[in-house]
Symmetry: C2
Subunit: 271 residues, 2 copies
Protein backbone atom coordinates (compact mmCIF):
# COMPACT_ATOMS: atom_id res chain seq x y z
CA UNK A 1 0.00 0.00 0.00
CA UNK A 2 1.24 3.51 -0.73
CA UNK A 3 0.31 6.77 0.86
CA UNK A 4 -0.50 10.36 0.01
CA UNK A 5 2.65 12.47 -0.19
CA UNK A 6 3.82 15.84 -1.43
CA UNK A 7 6.37 16.47 -4.17
CA UNK A 8 9.86 16.46 -2.72
CA UNK A 9 8.99 14.70 0.55
CA UNK A 10 10.22 11.13 0.31
CA UNK A 11 7.35 8.85 1.34
CA UNK A 12 6.53 5.15 1.14
CA UNK A 13 5.79 4.18 -2.44
CA UNK A 14 8.42 6.41 -4.01
CA UNK A 15 10.33 3.39 -5.24
CA UNK A 16 7.40 2.02 -7.23
CA UNK A 17 7.59 2.26 -11.01
CA UNK A 18 4.89 4.06 -13.00
CA UNK A 19 3.48 0.74 -14.21
CA UNK A 20 3.39 -0.65 -10.66
CA UNK A 21 1.47 2.41 -9.49
CA UNK A 22 -0.94 2.17 -12.44
CA UNK A 23 -1.48 -1.52 -11.60
CA UNK A 24 -2.30 -0.62 -7.98
CA UNK A 25 -4.83 1.92 -9.28
CA UNK A 26 -6.27 -0.68 -11.65
CA UNK A 27 -6.64 -3.15 -8.77
CA UNK A 28 -8.36 -0.50 -6.62
CA UNK A 29 -5.48 -0.59 -4.12
CA UNK A 30 -4.36 3.01 -4.49
CA UNK A 31 -6.75 5.97 -4.58
CA UNK A 32 -4.51 8.74 -3.19
CA UNK A 33 -2.83 11.80 -4.66
CA UNK A 34 0.20 11.15 -6.86
CA UNK A 35 2.45 14.07 -5.87
CA UNK A 36 5.91 12.73 -5.05
CA UNK A 37 5.31 9.30 -6.57
CA UNK A 38 7.59 7.84 -9.26
CA UNK A 39 9.95 10.82 -9.07
CA UNK A 40 11.36 11.82 -12.44
CA UNK A 41 8.39 10.48 -14.40
CA UNK A 42 5.88 12.71 -16.14
CA UNK A 43 2.46 13.11 -14.54
CA UNK A 44 -0.51 14.33 -16.56
CA UNK A 45 -3.95 15.86 -16.23
CA UNK A 46 -6.80 13.88 -17.82
CA UNK A 47 -9.85 15.10 -19.72
CA UNK A 48 -12.26 12.74 -21.50
CA UNK A 49 -14.78 14.17 -23.95
CA UNK A 50 -17.08 12.81 -26.63
CA UNK A 51 -15.67 12.84 -30.17
CA UNK A 52 -18.14 15.57 -31.15
CA UNK A 53 -16.23 18.03 -28.94
CA UNK A 54 -12.74 16.65 -29.60
CA UNK A 55 -11.76 18.94 -32.49
CA UNK A 56 -12.85 22.09 -30.70
CA UNK A 57 -10.97 21.00 -27.58
CA UNK A 58 -7.78 20.01 -29.40
CA UNK A 59 -7.92 23.33 -31.25
CA UNK A 60 -8.42 25.14 -27.92
CA UNK A 61 -5.26 23.42 -26.66
CA UNK A 62 -3.36 24.31 -29.86
CA UNK A 63 -4.33 27.96 -29.41
CA UNK A 64 -3.56 27.99 -25.68
CA UNK A 65 -0.44 25.85 -25.36
CA UNK A 66 0.71 27.35 -22.06
CA UNK A 67 -2.29 26.27 -19.95
CA UNK A 68 -3.04 23.26 -22.20
CA UNK A 69 0.15 21.46 -23.33
CA UNK A 70 -1.15 18.26 -24.97
CA UNK A 71 1.02 15.22 -24.26
CA UNK A 72 -1.19 12.45 -25.64
CA UNK A 73 -4.61 12.04 -27.24
CA UNK A 74 -6.21 8.60 -27.27
CA UNK A 75 -7.82 7.21 -30.40
CA UNK A 76 -11.63 7.41 -30.49
CA UNK A 77 -13.10 4.71 -28.25
CA UNK A 78 -9.66 3.30 -27.38
CA UNK A 79 -8.58 3.92 -23.75
CA UNK A 80 -4.87 3.17 -24.30
CA UNK A 81 -2.43 6.02 -23.65
CA UNK A 82 -0.25 4.76 -26.51
CA UNK A 83 2.43 7.40 -26.45
CA UNK A 84 2.82 8.27 -22.76
CA UNK A 85 2.52 4.67 -21.53
CA UNK A 86 1.86 1.89 -24.06
CA UNK A 87 -0.61 -0.60 -22.56
CA UNK A 88 -1.94 1.82 -19.94
CA UNK A 89 -5.74 2.09 -19.71
CA UNK A 90 -6.91 5.59 -18.83
CA UNK A 91 -10.26 4.15 -17.61
CA UNK A 92 -8.65 2.38 -14.65
CA UNK A 93 -5.04 3.50 -14.22
CA UNK A 94 -5.57 6.76 -12.37
CA UNK A 95 -6.33 6.72 -8.63
CA UNK A 96 -9.49 8.86 -8.71
CA UNK A 97 -11.79 10.43 -11.31
CA UNK A 98 -14.55 13.01 -11.44
CA UNK A 99 -17.66 12.64 -13.58
CA UNK A 100 -19.36 15.83 -14.77
CA UNK A 101 -22.75 15.98 -16.46
CA UNK A 102 -23.69 19.31 -18.04
CA UNK A 103 -20.92 20.98 -16.06
CA UNK A 104 -21.99 19.57 -12.69
CA UNK A 105 -19.87 17.19 -10.62
CA UNK A 106 -22.08 14.14 -10.14
CA UNK A 107 -19.65 11.51 -8.89
CA UNK A 108 -16.10 10.70 -7.79
CA UNK A 109 -15.06 7.21 -8.78
CA UNK A 110 -11.94 5.03 -8.86
CA UNK A 111 -12.55 3.77 -12.41
CA UNK A 112 -14.62 4.95 -15.36
CA UNK A 113 -15.30 1.80 -17.37
CA UNK A 114 -19.05 2.25 -17.10
CA UNK A 115 -18.80 5.87 -18.29
CA UNK A 116 -16.50 5.15 -21.23
CA UNK A 117 -18.19 5.25 -24.63
CA UNK A 118 -17.44 4.18 -28.18
CA UNK A 119 -16.89 7.86 -29.02
CA UNK A 120 -14.80 8.80 -25.98
CA UNK A 121 -11.50 10.62 -26.58
CA UNK A 122 -8.97 11.11 -23.78
CA UNK A 123 -6.59 14.06 -23.54
CA UNK A 124 -3.51 13.93 -21.32
CA UNK A 125 -2.14 17.38 -20.52
CA UNK A 126 1.20 18.40 -19.02
CA UNK A 127 1.47 19.24 -15.32
CA UNK A 128 3.62 21.57 -13.22
CA UNK A 129 5.10 18.66 -11.21
CA UNK A 130 7.57 18.33 -14.11
CA UNK A 131 9.05 21.80 -13.78
CA UNK A 132 8.81 21.87 -9.98
CA UNK A 133 11.18 18.92 -9.83
CA UNK A 134 13.60 20.77 -12.10
CA UNK A 135 13.34 23.85 -9.88
CA UNK A 136 13.97 21.82 -6.73
CA UNK A 137 16.94 20.14 -8.39
CA UNK A 138 18.37 23.60 -9.09
CA UNK A 139 17.93 24.61 -5.44
CA UNK A 140 15.01 26.99 -6.01
CA UNK A 141 12.29 27.34 -3.36
CA UNK A 142 8.88 25.81 -4.04
CA UNK A 143 6.93 27.24 -1.15
CA UNK A 144 3.80 25.05 -1.19
CA UNK A 145 6.03 21.97 -1.08
CA UNK A 146 8.06 23.44 1.80
CA UNK A 147 4.78 24.11 3.61
CA UNK A 148 3.16 20.80 2.69
CA UNK A 149 0.23 22.40 0.87
CA UNK A 150 -1.39 22.34 -2.54
CA UNK A 151 -0.14 25.09 -4.88
CA UNK A 152 -2.30 28.27 -4.76
CA UNK A 153 -4.24 28.82 -7.97
CA UNK A 154 -6.19 31.86 -9.13
CA UNK A 155 -8.71 32.74 -11.80
CA UNK A 156 -7.43 35.66 -13.88
CA UNK A 157 -8.87 38.32 -16.17
CA UNK A 158 -6.74 37.00 -19.03
CA UNK A 159 -8.99 35.48 -21.70
CA UNK A 160 -7.84 32.30 -23.38
CA UNK A 161 -8.07 32.29 -27.17
CA UNK A 162 -11.47 30.73 -27.89
CA UNK A 163 -11.91 27.71 -30.17
CA UNK A 164 -15.33 26.50 -31.27
CA UNK A 165 -17.51 26.05 -28.19
CA UNK A 166 -14.65 26.54 -25.72
CA UNK A 167 -13.70 29.88 -24.17
CA UNK A 168 -12.86 31.27 -20.77
CA UNK A 169 -10.21 32.85 -18.59
CA UNK A 170 -6.80 31.43 -17.76
CA UNK A 171 -6.17 29.95 -14.34
CA UNK A 172 -2.64 30.45 -12.96
CA UNK A 173 -0.59 28.89 -10.21
CA UNK A 174 1.70 31.04 -8.05
CA UNK A 175 5.09 30.41 -6.46
CA UNK A 176 6.73 33.25 -4.49
CA UNK A 177 10.51 33.72 -4.57
CA UNK A 178 13.19 36.41 -4.48
CA UNK A 179 13.93 38.12 -7.81
CA UNK A 180 17.20 36.29 -8.48
CA UNK A 181 15.41 32.98 -8.09
CA UNK A 182 12.56 34.22 -10.30
CA UNK A 183 15.11 34.80 -13.06
CA UNK A 184 16.44 31.26 -12.62
CA UNK A 185 12.89 29.91 -12.60
CA UNK A 186 12.15 31.56 -15.95
CA UNK A 187 15.27 29.97 -17.44
CA UNK A 188 14.49 26.51 -16.09
CA UNK A 189 10.77 26.36 -16.82
CA UNK A 190 11.26 27.75 -20.35
CA UNK A 191 12.73 24.38 -21.25
CA UNK A 192 9.51 22.59 -20.32
CA UNK A 193 7.09 24.01 -22.87
CA UNK A 194 5.11 20.75 -22.62
CA UNK A 195 4.64 21.44 -18.89
CA UNK A 196 3.32 25.05 -19.02
CA UNK A 197 6.72 26.54 -19.93
CA UNK A 198 7.91 29.97 -18.77
CA UNK A 199 5.79 32.05 -16.37
CA UNK A 200 2.98 34.18 -17.80
CA UNK A 201 3.54 37.00 -15.28
CA UNK A 202 5.92 38.14 -12.54
CA UNK A 203 4.99 40.66 -9.86
CA UNK A 204 1.80 42.67 -9.34
CA UNK A 205 -1.18 40.27 -9.08
CA UNK A 206 -3.58 43.10 -9.99
CA UNK A 207 -2.31 42.97 -13.58
CA UNK A 208 -3.98 39.56 -13.81
CA UNK A 209 -7.08 40.77 -11.95
CA UNK A 210 -6.10 38.88 -8.79
CA UNK A 211 -7.26 40.84 -5.74
CA UNK A 212 -5.92 38.85 -2.81
CA UNK A 213 -3.11 36.31 -2.94
CA UNK A 214 -4.23 34.99 0.45
CA UNK A 215 -7.53 33.84 -1.06
CA UNK A 216 -6.72 31.48 -3.93
CA UNK A 217 -9.63 30.15 -5.99
CA UNK A 218 -8.14 26.63 -5.85
CA UNK A 219 -5.50 25.07 -3.61
CA UNK A 220 -4.07 26.70 -0.47
CA UNK A 221 -2.46 30.06 0.31
CA UNK A 222 1.30 30.05 0.96
CA UNK A 223 3.63 32.37 2.87
CA UNK A 224 5.29 35.18 0.91
CA UNK A 225 8.46 36.34 2.66
CA UNK A 226 9.72 39.91 2.61
CA UNK A 227 11.60 40.67 -0.60
CA UNK A 228 9.85 37.92 -2.52
CA UNK A 229 7.74 38.46 -5.61
CA UNK A 230 4.92 36.24 -6.83
CA UNK A 231 5.65 34.31 -10.04
CA UNK A 232 2.64 33.09 -12.03
CA UNK A 233 2.44 30.11 -14.41
CA UNK A 234 -0.43 29.01 -16.66
CA UNK A 235 -2.19 26.17 -14.88
CA UNK A 236 -3.64 22.84 -15.99
CA UNK A 237 -6.85 23.64 -14.14
CA UNK A 238 -7.64 26.03 -17.03
CA UNK A 239 -8.89 23.40 -19.51
CA UNK A 240 -11.14 21.82 -16.87
CA UNK A 241 -12.61 25.20 -15.89
CA UNK A 242 -13.19 26.05 -19.55
CA UNK A 243 -14.79 22.70 -20.35
CA UNK A 244 -17.17 22.88 -17.42
CA UNK A 245 -18.28 26.37 -18.51
CA UNK A 246 -19.55 24.88 -21.78
CA UNK A 247 -21.58 22.30 -19.82
CA UNK A 248 -20.98 19.29 -22.06
CA UNK A 249 -23.38 16.37 -21.67
CA UNK A 250 -20.52 14.27 -20.24
CA UNK A 251 -16.96 15.16 -19.23
CA UNK A 252 -14.57 13.07 -17.16
CA UNK A 253 -11.41 14.35 -15.48
CA UNK A 254 -8.91 13.11 -12.91
CA UNK A 255 -9.70 14.24 -9.35
CA UNK A 256 -7.38 17.14 -8.38
CA UNK A 257 -3.88 15.85 -7.55
CA UNK A 258 -4.77 12.30 -8.64
CA UNK A 259 -2.80 12.31 -11.87
CA UNK A 260 -1.92 9.87 -14.61
CA UNK A 261 1.67 8.67 -14.21
CA UNK A 262 3.43 8.13 -17.54
CA UNK A 263 6.36 5.94 -18.56
CA UNK A 264 8.30 8.88 -19.98
CA UNK A 265 10.68 10.96 -17.93
CA UNK A 266 10.45 14.66 -17.16
CA UNK A 267 13.62 15.26 -19.13
CA UNK A 268 11.91 13.98 -22.28
CA UNK A 269 9.61 17.01 -22.06
CA UNK A 270 12.55 19.42 -21.99
CA UNK A 271 13.24 21.12 -25.29
Amino acid sequence: MIYQSAVGNPKPGQDLTPSEIRQLCRDGKFTGVTAGLAPGYVQANLVVLPRSLAFDFLLFCQRNPKPCPVLDVTDEGNPEARFLAPGADIRTDLPLYRIYRRGKLVEETTEIRSFWREDSVGFLIGCSFTFERAMLAAGLPVRHIEEGRNVPMYRTNRACTPAGCFSGEMVVSMRPMPPHHAIQAVKITSHYHKAHGAPVHIGDPAVLGIKNLDKPDYGNPVTIHEGEIPVFWACGVTPQAVILQTKPELAITHAPGHMFIADIKDEELAL
Copy 2:
Protein backbone atom coordinates in the same frame (compact mmCIF):
# COMPACT_ATOMS: atom_id res chain seq x y z
CA MET B 1 5.58 44.46 -59.33
CA ILE B 2 7.86 42.08 -57.47
CA TYR B 3 9.91 39.19 -58.68
CA GLN B 4 10.86 35.67 -57.78
CA SER B 5 13.89 35.58 -55.53
CA ALA B 6 15.75 33.18 -53.26
CA VAL B 7 16.19 33.50 -49.51
CA GLY B 8 19.20 35.63 -48.72
CA ASN B 9 19.55 37.20 -52.18
CA PRO B 10 18.32 40.79 -51.98
CA LYS B 11 15.86 41.33 -54.85
CA PRO B 12 13.21 43.87 -55.81
CA GLY B 13 10.23 43.60 -53.49
CA GLN B 14 12.23 42.89 -50.36
CA ASP B 15 11.13 46.17 -48.84
CA LEU B 16 7.42 45.36 -49.09
CA THR B 17 5.59 44.57 -45.86
CA PRO B 18 3.72 41.27 -45.41
CA SER B 19 0.37 43.05 -45.79
CA GLU B 20 1.53 44.79 -48.97
CA ILE B 21 2.59 41.44 -50.45
CA ARG B 22 -0.71 39.83 -49.43
CA GLN B 23 -2.56 42.75 -51.06
CA LEU B 24 -0.61 42.22 -54.30
CA CYS B 25 -1.59 38.53 -54.19
CA ARG B 26 -5.22 39.47 -53.52
CA ASP B 27 -5.19 41.85 -56.50
CA GLY B 28 -3.68 39.15 -58.73
CA LYS B 29 -0.51 41.21 -59.20
CA PHE B 30 1.92 38.74 -57.64
CA THR B 31 1.93 35.02 -58.36
CA GLY B 32 5.62 34.16 -57.76
CA VAL B 33 7.52 32.27 -55.08
CA THR B 34 7.89 34.03 -51.75
CA ALA B 35 11.45 33.00 -50.77
CA GLY B 36 13.39 36.11 -49.77
CA LEU B 37 10.34 38.35 -49.50
CA ALA B 38 9.54 40.27 -46.30
CA PRO B 39 12.74 39.10 -44.62
CA GLY B 40 12.32 38.39 -40.91
CA TYR B 41 8.62 37.58 -41.20
CA VAL B 42 7.25 34.07 -40.77
CA GLN B 43 6.16 32.21 -43.89
CA ALA B 44 3.80 29.26 -43.67
CA ASN B 45 2.59 26.21 -45.57
CA LEU B 46 -1.17 26.05 -46.20
CA VAL B 47 -3.51 23.06 -46.12
CA VAL B 48 -7.31 23.41 -46.43
CA LEU B 49 -9.51 20.43 -45.58
CA PRO B 50 -13.18 19.84 -44.92
CA ARG B 51 -14.22 19.94 -41.25
CA SER B 52 -14.89 16.17 -41.32
CA LEU B 53 -11.12 15.57 -41.63
CA ALA B 54 -10.00 18.44 -39.41
CA PHE B 55 -9.76 16.54 -36.11
CA ASP B 56 -7.77 13.69 -37.61
CA PHE B 57 -5.43 16.14 -39.30
CA LEU B 58 -4.93 18.35 -36.22
CA LEU B 59 -4.26 15.19 -34.21
CA PHE B 60 -1.77 14.04 -36.86
CA CYS B 61 0.03 17.37 -36.45
CA GLN B 62 -0.05 17.07 -32.64
CA ARG B 63 1.53 13.61 -32.88
CA ASN B 64 4.09 14.69 -35.49
CA PRO B 65 5.13 18.17 -34.40
CA LYS B 66 8.50 18.16 -36.19
CA PRO B 67 7.16 17.81 -39.76
CA CYS B 68 3.83 19.51 -38.88
CA PRO B 69 4.29 22.48 -36.52
CA VAL B 70 0.85 24.13 -36.49
CA LEU B 71 0.99 27.94 -36.40
CA ASP B 72 -2.66 28.79 -36.99
CA VAL B 73 -5.96 27.02 -37.67
CA THR B 74 -8.85 29.00 -39.13
CA ASP B 75 -12.36 28.72 -37.72
CA GLU B 76 -14.71 26.51 -39.73
CA GLY B 77 -15.85 28.37 -42.84
CA ASN B 78 -13.93 31.52 -41.89
CA PRO B 79 -10.90 32.24 -44.13
CA GLU B 80 -9.24 34.75 -41.77
CA ALA B 81 -5.79 33.82 -40.43
CA ARG B 82 -6.66 35.50 -37.14
CA PHE B 83 -3.49 34.75 -35.25
CA LEU B 84 -0.75 34.92 -37.87
CA ALA B 85 -2.18 37.95 -39.68
CA PRO B 86 -5.48 39.44 -38.49
CA GLY B 87 -7.56 40.45 -41.50
CA ALA B 88 -5.67 38.21 -43.94
CA ASP B 89 -7.83 36.01 -46.19
CA ILE B 90 -6.22 32.65 -46.92
CA ARG B 91 -8.46 32.26 -50.01
CA THR B 92 -6.76 35.13 -51.84
CA ASP B 93 -3.61 36.22 -50.02
CA LEU B 94 -1.17 33.57 -51.23
CA PRO B 95 0.37 33.87 -54.69
CA LEU B 96 -0.55 30.41 -55.99
CA TYR B 97 -2.61 27.42 -54.86
CA ARG B 98 -3.06 23.79 -55.82
CA ILE B 99 -6.43 22.04 -55.88
CA TYR B 100 -6.46 18.28 -55.27
CA ARG B 101 -9.50 16.04 -55.76
CA ARG B 102 -9.19 12.49 -54.39
CA GLY B 103 -5.43 12.96 -54.16
CA LYS B 104 -5.00 14.18 -57.76
CA LEU B 105 -3.78 17.65 -58.68
CA VAL B 106 -6.56 19.07 -60.85
CA GLU B 107 -5.72 22.76 -60.98
CA GLU B 108 -3.28 25.53 -60.07
CA THR B 109 -5.03 28.79 -59.31
CA THR B 110 -4.24 32.24 -57.91
CA GLU B 111 -7.26 32.31 -55.58
CA ILE B 112 -9.58 29.69 -54.11
CA ARG B 113 -12.80 31.57 -53.41
CA SER B 114 -14.83 29.25 -55.64
CA PHE B 115 -13.39 26.18 -53.87
CA TRP B 116 -13.91 27.46 -50.35
CA ARG B 117 -16.84 25.85 -48.51
CA GLU B 118 -18.89 26.48 -45.39
CA ASP B 119 -17.03 23.59 -43.75
CA SER B 120 -13.50 24.49 -44.89
CA VAL B 121 -10.76 24.64 -42.24
CA GLY B 122 -7.32 26.09 -43.06
CA PHE B 123 -4.10 24.96 -41.39
CA LEU B 124 -0.97 27.12 -41.51
CA ILE B 125 2.19 25.16 -40.80
CA GLY B 126 5.71 26.38 -40.01
CA CYS B 127 8.37 26.50 -42.71
CA SER B 128 12.14 26.10 -42.83
CA PHE B 129 12.64 29.65 -44.17
CA THR B 130 12.46 30.72 -40.51
CA PHE B 131 15.44 28.69 -39.34
CA GLU B 132 17.42 29.20 -42.56
CA ARG B 133 17.42 32.94 -41.88
CA ALA B 134 18.72 32.28 -38.38
CA MET B 135 21.44 30.00 -39.79
CA LEU B 136 22.48 32.59 -42.38
CA ALA B 137 22.57 35.27 -39.69
CA ALA B 138 24.96 33.03 -37.71
CA GLY B 139 27.24 32.63 -40.75
CA LEU B 140 26.31 29.01 -41.49
CA PRO B 141 26.21 27.75 -45.07
CA VAL B 142 22.83 27.08 -46.67
CA ARG B 143 23.93 25.38 -49.85
CA HIS B 144 20.73 25.52 -51.92
CA ILE B 145 20.57 29.27 -51.33
CA GLU B 146 24.23 29.67 -52.31
CA GLU B 147 23.49 27.70 -55.48
CA GLY B 148 20.15 29.40 -56.20
CA ARG B 149 18.16 26.17 -56.05
CA ASN B 150 15.21 24.75 -54.16
CA VAL B 151 16.20 22.70 -51.09
CA PRO B 152 16.58 18.94 -51.81
CA MET B 153 13.85 16.87 -50.15
CA TYR B 154 13.61 13.10 -49.76
CA ARG B 155 11.00 10.55 -48.82
CA THR B 156 12.23 8.44 -45.89
CA ASN B 157 11.47 5.05 -44.34
CA ARG B 158 10.55 6.76 -41.08
CA ALA B 159 6.83 6.34 -40.40
CA CYS B 160 4.94 9.27 -38.96
CA THR B 161 2.70 8.46 -36.01
CA PRO B 162 -0.72 7.80 -37.58
CA ALA B 163 -3.88 9.64 -36.51
CA GLY B 164 -7.32 8.64 -37.71
CA CYS B 165 -7.25 8.39 -41.51
CA PHE B 166 -3.80 9.96 -41.84
CA SER B 167 -0.54 7.99 -41.99
CA GLY B 168 2.63 7.92 -44.05
CA GLU B 169 6.36 8.43 -44.08
CA MET B 170 8.23 11.56 -43.11
CA VAL B 171 9.74 13.74 -45.82
CA VAL B 172 13.02 15.46 -44.92
CA SER B 173 15.01 18.36 -46.31
CA MET B 174 18.82 18.19 -46.41
CA ARG B 175 21.52 20.80 -45.97
CA PRO B 176 25.18 19.71 -46.18
CA MET B 177 27.80 21.32 -43.94
CA PRO B 178 31.03 20.54 -42.08
CA PRO B 179 30.58 18.92 -38.64
CA HIS B 180 31.34 22.04 -36.61
CA HIS B 181 28.63 23.89 -38.50
CA ALA B 182 26.26 20.95 -38.05
CA ILE B 183 26.67 21.33 -34.29
CA GLN B 184 25.88 25.04 -34.55
CA ALA B 185 22.90 24.26 -36.77
CA VAL B 186 21.46 21.89 -34.14
CA LYS B 187 21.80 24.60 -31.49
CA ILE B 188 20.18 27.29 -33.64
CA THR B 189 17.31 25.29 -35.11
CA SER B 190 16.42 23.76 -31.72
CA HIS B 191 15.07 27.16 -30.76
CA TYR B 192 12.55 27.09 -33.61
CA HIS B 193 10.35 24.18 -32.62
CA LYS B 194 7.49 25.85 -34.49
CA ALA B 195 9.60 25.71 -37.66
CA HIS B 196 10.62 22.02 -37.65
CA GLY B 197 13.10 22.42 -34.77
CA ALA B 198 16.33 20.44 -34.46
CA PRO B 199 17.42 18.02 -37.20
CA VAL B 200 15.97 14.49 -37.22
CA HIS B 201 19.22 12.93 -38.47
CA ILE B 202 22.86 13.75 -39.19
CA GLY B 203 25.09 11.67 -41.45
CA ASP B 204 24.40 8.39 -43.27
CA PRO B 205 21.36 8.85 -45.56
CA ALA B 206 20.83 5.06 -45.64
CA VAL B 207 19.60 5.19 -42.03
CA LEU B 208 16.57 7.09 -43.36
CA GLY B 209 16.27 4.77 -46.37
CA ILE B 210 17.61 7.42 -48.75
CA LYS B 211 19.61 5.76 -51.53
CA ASN B 212 20.99 8.65 -53.54
CA LEU B 213 21.37 12.21 -52.32
CA ASP B 214 21.80 13.32 -55.94
CA LYS B 215 18.24 12.24 -56.73
CA PRO B 216 15.92 14.10 -54.36
CA ASP B 217 12.21 13.27 -54.52
CA TYR B 218 11.35 16.98 -54.43
CA GLY B 219 13.45 20.10 -55.09
CA ASN B 220 16.96 20.08 -56.56
CA PRO B 221 20.23 18.30 -55.72
CA VAL B 222 22.99 20.44 -54.18
CA THR B 223 26.77 20.13 -54.04
CA ILE B 224 28.25 18.34 -51.02
CA HIS B 225 31.86 19.38 -50.50
CA GLU B 226 34.57 17.10 -49.15
CA GLY B 227 34.42 16.89 -45.36
CA GLU B 228 30.76 17.86 -45.23
CA ILE B 229 27.99 15.72 -43.79
CA PRO B 230 24.33 15.83 -44.73
CA VAL B 231 22.01 17.23 -42.05
CA PHE B 232 18.33 16.27 -42.31
CA TRP B 233 15.31 18.18 -41.01
CA ALA B 234 11.65 17.17 -40.94
CA CYS B 235 9.97 18.88 -43.87
CA GLY B 236 6.65 20.67 -44.35
CA VAL B 237 6.03 18.62 -47.49
CA THR B 238 5.23 15.71 -45.14
CA PRO B 239 1.65 16.75 -44.29
CA GLN B 240 0.82 17.33 -47.95
CA ALA B 241 2.22 13.94 -48.95
CA VAL B 242 0.28 12.26 -46.14
CA ILE B 243 -2.97 14.04 -46.97
CA LEU B 244 -2.78 13.15 -50.65
CA GLN B 245 -2.23 9.48 -49.77
CA THR B 246 -5.64 9.43 -48.08
CA LYS B 247 -7.24 10.85 -51.26
CA PRO B 248 -9.71 13.25 -49.63
CA GLU B 249 -12.58 14.44 -51.80
CA LEU B 250 -11.07 17.98 -51.73
CA ALA B 251 -7.76 19.32 -50.44
CA ILE B 252 -6.21 22.68 -51.17
CA THR B 253 -2.57 23.63 -50.57
CA HIS B 254 -0.22 26.45 -51.49
CA ALA B 255 1.85 25.75 -54.61
CA PRO B 256 5.42 24.77 -53.62
CA GLY B 257 7.42 27.84 -52.60
CA HIS B 258 4.36 30.10 -52.83
CA MET B 259 3.84 30.54 -49.11
CA PHE B 260 1.57 32.55 -46.83
CA ILE B 261 3.46 35.54 -45.39
CA ALA B 262 2.46 36.30 -41.81
CA ASP B 263 2.59 39.49 -39.75
CA ILE B 264 4.61 37.84 -36.97
CA LYS B 265 8.40 37.76 -36.97
CA ASP B 266 10.65 34.71 -37.08
CA GLU B 267 11.92 35.57 -33.60
CA GLU B 268 8.39 35.13 -32.22
CA LEU B 269 8.67 31.44 -33.14
CA ALA B 270 11.88 31.04 -31.13
CA LEU B 271 11.43 29.42 -27.78
